[in-house]
């Protein structure tokens, strides 16, 4: 449901408190309070980081390849178990959700993604994916942080949001305005009784400095944001169900924020646990199920909210894993792996063929597509940002978004 200007004024700052208190709000503050920061057609990118190094070969399985079955005597997934995407590639059996997204034309797999001279340190390789820069010099901004820095629009609206445990990822680090990092959106709710508060915030000030007016405007728009969120939150009781996973919970909150036009164009969250050195099968299937079911529920919700068209989801991991399993029924740090790009806007299907397991480098899958080509495609065709200026040099954008 769209919140109209009149509707908002009636329910929000205008109607109940300010007028009742007899204090008038300066005109420009009123405009700020009612202007929703995100336009109806604004495009949103949601990034899900798969932390620890996801085993690409058991995610998108080359089920016809004898080399694969030879290399994975205990961990292999048989042809009759996979959820087939093509004649050669199929999804892990726990990824029924992604299979459905694929069949609905919402899911693209970019196979064998990596970068030259792959680094097998979690930390270093993650930095390379975050900064989109493999040079050894310290880079102190992330690729998405640089997008935020270039962004136009009012500075009081957060342009990106990290919704997760832990520190702000390097990918979102930028130079200009702080990107908020939150564990959950309860922090975006205005807590406690708000009537006195809005009266104090909204009261007009004589001789106020520009800086004080700046703060006042933010306070007013914060309350407005909270109100918008409350209304969408209340409406979400009818939203489609989500599975009981932490990733699902965060994605549900992201859906609420997008629905509320909260402002950010970029959302970032993660799923940890992919560093499967031992007894991988016990951990890997459940993780893939969490990913697959959570994202599927997210799109069901977005479709119900009629905003699915505006959202693209991208997944990545710092590396794939070794082709040959180790002695502990696990896999060690590897190189290239698939990325998933999802949403009604993507060109669904599989980009790139099966990995060539006869031409490995140091026992790892060789990359065929530089991850920065995927970034470049998303930057150019989805976020409408010049990829070269964000990535620092030219990468041929992968045409992953439908034009």
């Amino acid at each position: 449901m769209n919140i109209t200007r009149r509707d908002f004024v009636a329910r929000g700052l205008g109607g109940t408190t300010l007028l009742a208190s007899g204090v008038s709000l300066p005109g420009f503050l009123t405009r700020t309070a009612v202007a929703a920061p995100g336009a109806d057609d604004e495009r949103i990118l949601v990034v899900i980081q798969l932390t620890g190094g996801n085993d690409g070969l058991n995610t998108v399985v080359p089920f016809r390849d004898d080399e694969y079955h030879k290399a994975r005597p205990t961990l292999r997934i048989r042809a009759d178990q996979v959820l087939k995407l093509t004649d050669e590639l199929g999804l892990h059996p726990d990824m029924a959700g992604f299979k459905r997204l694929h069949d609905d034309g919402l899911l693209a797999v970019v196979n064998n993604v990596g970068y030259p001279n792959p680094d097998r340190s979690h930390f270093r390789s993650m930095d390379i994916w975050h900064t989109a820069d493999a040079r050894p010099e310290a880079v102190d901004s992330g690729w998405l942080g640089r997008v935020v820095d270039r962004g136009a629009g009012p500075s009081d609206v957060p342009r990106a949001l990290h919704l997760d445990e832990g520190a702000l990822p390097l990918a979102l680090k930028n130079q200009r305005v702080a990107v908020p990092s939150l564990r959950n959106i309860d922090a975006f709710r205005l807590q406690g009784d708000t009537e006195d508060l809005q009266r104090v915030i909204g009261a007009s000030r004589r001789d106020a400095s520009d800086d004080l007016l700046f703060v006042q405007r933010l306070a007013v728009s914060s309350c407005a944001n909270a109100r918008r969120l409350e209304r969408v939150g209340a409406g979400s009781a009818v939203s489609s169900p989500y599975p009981d996973y932490r990733l699902a919970l965060r994605l549900r909150q992201i859906a609420q924020l997008i629905g509320a036009r909260f402002g950010p164009r970029i959302y970032y969250t993660s799923l940890d646990g992919f560093d499967t050195h031992a007894r991988q099968a016990l951990a890997h299937g459940p993780l893939l199920r969490e990913l697959s079911d959570s994202v599927t529920a997210f799109y069901d919700d977005l479709r119900q909210r009629r905003i699915a068209d505006r959202v693209v989801v991208l997944t990545f991991s710092e590396f794939g894993r070794r082709v040959g399993e180790n002695g502990s029924q696990g896999t060690d740090h590897g190189a290239a792996a698939p990325m998933f790009v999802m949403g009604p806007a993507v060109r669904a299907g599989v980009v790139g063929g099966r990995p060539d397991l006869t031409r490995l480098i140091d026992g790892d899958v060789r990359h065929e597509c530089d991850f920065r080509r995927v970034y470049a495609g998303v930057l150019r065709d989805w976020l409408a940002v010049d990829p070269d200026s964000i990535l620092g040099r030219r990468f041929d954008p992968l045409a992953i978004i439908r034009s």
Binding site: Q175, F188, V200, A219
Partner: protein
């Protein structure tokens, strides 16, 4: 009257609750009623002197000092963050505490790369040791600081293969500012720092990897080492102005006027960059009490949160402090880049503003982790009537300058004293004015 001549209080500028609170906020945190009373009774000069020479010998402080080492040994950076904030809440040397944060921001080093709470703590102790000392000593200590060496790749800086990272930031961000040096100066200075390495968290000079050949820096020629480059940096005409600008931004506000920068720069030079002497001049100057700077800076998250805790004499668990301050955008030990945090307006967007409103709510709830205790305050400060309570709250938050319409509203309330204090503080801490220092 924006100059550094000593302020004379009289009919123009009075030494009263407003100016005293202003001084205490700028040199520390929002004051508690007893801090404010002490400042009013001894006067401005003596207050500044106390701030500069304060020694914290409380048992609580020593306890916290030991705890810091224990947390660092466990490599628990989040706990160390809370510990640092809790020490700010308890310290009797607020100016030193603020300067330690100032230097952390100035020499912004992040644990995201250093990955050692022990090294970060060691660096913090260096900031504390030199907080009000001579800038040269600090610059030299930081050039040999293990966390800084990891942060800016000092150990990669070896003879024949100089790494310019530290030399560049020394000029650009720590000492001079862009435009005051050449790329050749950087290359030559990097050679002077070759061999300034760290191993296992200790500074180590590798003689074999040090290039002791001749260098040319800022047009001067010599077989310079790192200490020489530090000295040359301090002698560079841009250095004092660079530091003066930054100090004025911190103590007065954004965009300090040019003549004031020049005046403080010359004060820095004539005291050989003695921070205590230079700050004494600044803090007792006419400029310090110029009304144009009153509530002219937007509080950092630390000033906001620690100020609430100190001024309202609250208990605040370390973890709650660390979470609040980090969420508001100032994750200690993890500045966003080597440039440190952007200050003033950059602290606030609609998300961080909303979080501030919620911190105000949390601090005044009956069950908040960081929470005010109205009955204790009423007892301690003899608040017996509703008018007492409202006046007390306005005084502590807005220096008694509550808009009349709001004062009437609060006074007309028929709440009991405790809920009235919670309700009044809640809105005052969330008010736009309170976000300003």
């Amino acid at each position: 009257m924006t100059d550094l001549r000593p302020v004379e209080f009289g009919s123009h500028v009075r030494w009263n609750g407003k100016s005293a609170a202003h001084l205490l906020r700028r040199t520390g945190f929002a004051p508690s009623p007893s801090e404010l009373r002490a400042a009013l009774s001894v006067g401005a000069d003596a207050t500044v002197e106390r701030l500069i020479t304060a020694v914290d010998d409380s048992a609580r402080h020593d306890e916290l000092d030991e705890l810091g080492s224990a947390l660092a040994a466990r490599d628990d950076i989040q706990a160390l963050r809370g510990w640092w904030l809790q020490r700010m809440c308890h310290t009797r040397r607020p100016l030193h505490a603020r300067m330690a944060v100032f230097w952390h921001d100035h020499f912004a080093t992040s644990n995201a790369k250093v990955r050692s709470a022990a090294m970060m703590l060691q660096q913090l102790r260096t900031f504390e040791r030199h907080a009000l000392g001579r800038f040269e000593d600090l610059l030299l200590a930081i050039s040999r600081d293990p966390a800084m060496i990891v942060w800016l790749d000092g150990s990669e800086n070896i003879k024949g293969r100089p790494n310019e990272n530290y030399a560049r930031e020394l000029f650009e961000l720590f000492g001079l500012g862009v435009g005051n040096y050449t790329e050749t100066d950087i290359r030559e200075a990097a050679r002077a720092f070759t061999g300034w390495h760290q191993r296992s968290g200790c500074y180590r000079f590798s003689r074999l990897e040090h290039d002791d050949g001749e260098k040319v820096v800022f047009g001067q020629r010599g077989r310079f080492d790192g200490a020489d480059v530090v000295r040359l940096t301090l002698q560079h005409p841009a250095c004092a102005r660079f530091l003066a600008t930054k100090l004025l931004r911190e103590f007065l506000g954004p965009q300090p006027p040019e003549p004031l920068v020049a005046e403080l720069a010359s004060r820095l030079r004539e005291t050989e960059y003695d921070m205590a002497a230079s700050l004494r001049t600044l803090l007792t100057s006419r400029a310090m009490f110029d009304p144009r700077w009153y509530r002219a800076r937007i509080k950092s998250p630390i000033e906001f949160v620690v100020g609430i805790v100190r001024s309202l004499e609250m208990r605040a668990p370390a973890d709650a402090l660390a979470t609040a301050v980090s969420q508001l955008g100032q994750r200690l030990f993890e500045p966003p880049s080597v440039k440190g945090w952007d200050d003033h307006r950059a602290w606030l967007n609609s998300a961080t503003m909303l979080l501030r409103l919620n911190v105000a709510n949390q601090a005044t709830r009956t069950d908040g982790a960081i929470g005010v205790d109205p009955s204790t305050l009423c007892l301690r400060y003899g608040l017996a009537t509703r008018a007492d309570v409202v006046r007390f709250c306005e005084q502590l938050t807005l220096d008694g300058e509550l808009p009349a319409v709001l004062r009437e509203q609060f006074a007309a309330s028929d709440d009991d004293l405790n809920p009235l204090m919670r309700r009044t503080l809640r809105v005052l801490l969330a008010s736009p004015e309170y976000q300003m220092s």
